[in-house]
């Protein structure tokens, strides 16, 4: 073992090359994870925080007829639940007069919120960059894009909103813009408008009806448990309750395959590292041919030679995995501390996935050993007399 170590450490160039190969392989996987998994988690986070909560309750076919306050109260009695808030959605046509010019915009999504509960169950109110969130029945928050489409509507402007109610009648109401919402990754209400839920109920003629209830948990890992308990408690109400993974599945499915693809690229990178190790180990074997011959001549068995070079593979794997993991963790730490964002907008959700970190390090270590098998085997096949003739 001492000899194996010396042989390797005296060839610093080869050692550094092999360790770098493993390190880079691991680093690529860590960087991919931080960026792409971070982006995925950030989108999940924003969908959960802004729109769906940890559990989203809807009606299987239509609107929820049960009193929203009774459902909210039911949820808030569960110790795992932080808050619950009702929402109702519709579409509207909007008009604004800017500098004497009438500007119209059709098919604008409208979300009705209960301001008191919404700011507890969601952080979407924090995306209001100018002004304040909905606070009264005639205040409206415009998404940044909607405000731009309405000729640059600003806080204090007056907008006319027309909605077709459930009976097909047009309902019109004037609102005062209380805020403009703009979320970093665009998952908030940037393309929508937000008004008081009771106003929207009045305009759509859906008194006492609710589109959805978003439930925020203190511990999101309990989502499935809470969801199942809810469905068991209301077996006859046609409720549909979905965890964030279920409710956002459609939006995330494509992304998930993208991440799998990126991970594949990472693992291909690791395979390239293995080829680099094979090459470097072959160079080490070639450089030590005479020494191998001498050792064989003085009694070393084939398995002794095999052990020397496999041990070298283990050393390369261990050092590479250590340095690679440390570098990867350093990058993750940097990304987390600097609140790294994607495309300078969406802050990545950077986490330390210890299971994946250990798995990557172990995989690199094992791969380095596997990569050293062939060069080790070649070393055992050298004939002492011929090997000793090598200069």
């Amino acid at each position: 073992m001492k000899l194996a170590k010396r042989m390797l450490f005296n060839k610093k160039g080869s050692l550094i090359g092999a360790v770098l190969a493993v390190t880079i392989g691991i680093l690529v996987i860590h960087v991919n994870f931080v960026i792409f998994q971070g982006l995925f988690d950030a989108i999940v986070r924003d969908i959960s925080e802004y729109r769906n909560g940890d559990i989203l309750v809807t009606n299987e076919d239509d609107y929820i007829d049960k009193s929203d306050s009774s459902i909210v109260s039911w949820f808030e009695r569960i110790s795992y639940v932080e808050a619950a808030a009702p929402r109702l959605s519709s579409t509207a046509e909007m008009e604004i007069t800017k500098n004497g010019k009438l500007i119209e915009k059709t098919r604008v999504p409208v979300v009705g919120v209960d301001p008191f509960n919404d700011i507890r169950a969601s952080t979407v109110h924090e995306t209001v960059a100018e002004g304040t969130y909905v606070f009264s029945r005639n205040s409206i928050v415009l998404g940044n894009t909607v405000a731009e489409d309405l000729g640059g509507a600003t806080v204090g402007d007056n907008v006319k909103v027309m909605i077709i109610d459930r009976w097909g009648e047009e309902q019109t109401k004037r609102f005062t813009v209380s805020g403009i919402a703009k979320s970093p990754g665009g998952q908030g209400f940037d393309y929508s408008t937000v008004i008081h839920i009771d106003t929207l109920r009045d305009m759509t003629n859906r008194e006492d009806q609710t589109g959805s209830i978003m439930v925020k948990l203190k511990d999101p890992t309990k989502a499935l448990e809470v969801k199942e308990f809810f469905l068991l408690s209301f077996p006859n109400d046609d409720f549909l309750a979905e965890t964030i993974e279920e409710s956002a599945e459609e939006q995330l499915a494509g992304f998930r395959s993208g991440i799998a693809m990126i991970n594949m690229i990472g693992y291909f990178g690791m395979m390239s590292s293995a080829f680099a190790i094979v090459t470097i180990q072959m160079m080490l074997v070639n450089g030590k041919t005479r020494e191998i011959g001498v050792m064989r001549a003085i009694g070393a068995k084939r398995k002794d030679i095999l052990i020397i070079f496999i041990f070298q593979g283990m050393l390369i794997g261990a050092i590479g995995a250590g340095v690679g993991t440390a570098t990867g963790l350093g990058y993750t730490f940097y990304a987390k501390e600097t609140k790294m964002s994607f495309n300078n907008s969406l802050p990545l959700e950077v986490t330390y996935n210890w299971e994946k970190i250990i798995q990557t390090a172990l995989a690199s270590f094992v791969l380095a050993i596997i990569a050293s098998l062939y060069p080790s085997y070649r070393a055992t096949k050298l004939l002492p007399v011929e090997a000793m003739r090598t200069v």
Binding site: K2, L3, R6, M7, N10, R290, E291, V294, M295, R296, A297, I298, G299, A300, K301, R302, K303, D304, P384, V385, M388
Partner: protein, 214 residues
């Protein structure tokens, strides 16, 4: 074409035997066969009543480790190891190195290198390296020490020292030394000389028929 043909002789325990001959005559091939580094296409090599041609690769390695000591022309020390570690290498391979450091130090004293023990093998002179190689060849107390041109790469003063050292070791330890050399005058009186010519062995200047039973 055969490198060696119809070679048959025996050597007794404790003899110092020189194998001489011109370049390409087959003397190194003969030494490699006695050292089990090469195998004959026909015939057998008996060492201590063991027919070595019937051994498998692993048994040959063990046999070489326990029964044979090697001294090569270019010393062939492992440059990654120190002088002491080089000497202990055969013991390490045998898995019995734990108690042999004192013996290695005694051997180093015998070859006059007791002050160089921790030097790296590539930091000592050619003559010193050859003396280390002798110590390495003797550490396992082999029955036979095989030396292939041990002075071939040394100046005449160093060659004399090495020759005297090998002869005194052979006498002291009652070991068989089989030495291939071009340089027979440096060795002076030895027990026997075998001449290889065109792949055939002759005792002195006469054709010889011998059996190896060292």
């Amino acid at each position: 074409m055969k490198a060696l043909d119809d070679v048959s002789f025996s050597i007794e325990q404790g003899e110092v035997v020189l194998i001489v001959g011109s370049s390409g005559s087959g003397k190194s091939t003969l030494l490699n066969m006695i050292g089990l580094l090469d195998s004959p296409t026909n015939g057998s090599i008996l060492i201590d009543e063991t027919n070595t041609t019937t051994l498998n690769d692993s048994q040959i390695s063990s046999f070489r480790n326990k029964k044979l000591g090697f001294i090569f022309q270019f010393s062939n020390l492992l440059t990654d190891l120190s002088v002491l570690e080089n000497i202990l290498l055969p013991r390490q391979i045998a898995g019995t190195d734990l108690t042999s450091e004192k013996q290695a130090l005694d051997l180093l004293k015998a070859v006059g290198l007791e002050t160089q023990i921790h030097k790296r093998a590539n930091k000592i002179s050619g003559g010193q390296a050859q003396r280390v190689a002798i110590a390495r060849g003797l550490i396992n107390k082999p029955s036979i020490v095989l030396a292939d041109e041990p002075t071939g790469n040394l100046d005449s003063v160093t060659s004399d020292t090495i020759v005297q050292l090998m002869k005194s070791m052979a006498r002291k330890l009652n070991q068989t030394f089989i030495v291939v050399t071009h340089d027979r005058e440096h060795f002076g009186d030895v027990d026997r000389i075998i001449t290889i010519k065109d792949g055939r062995a002759f005792e002195g200047e006469q054709p010889s028929t011998m059996e190896i039973t060292a």
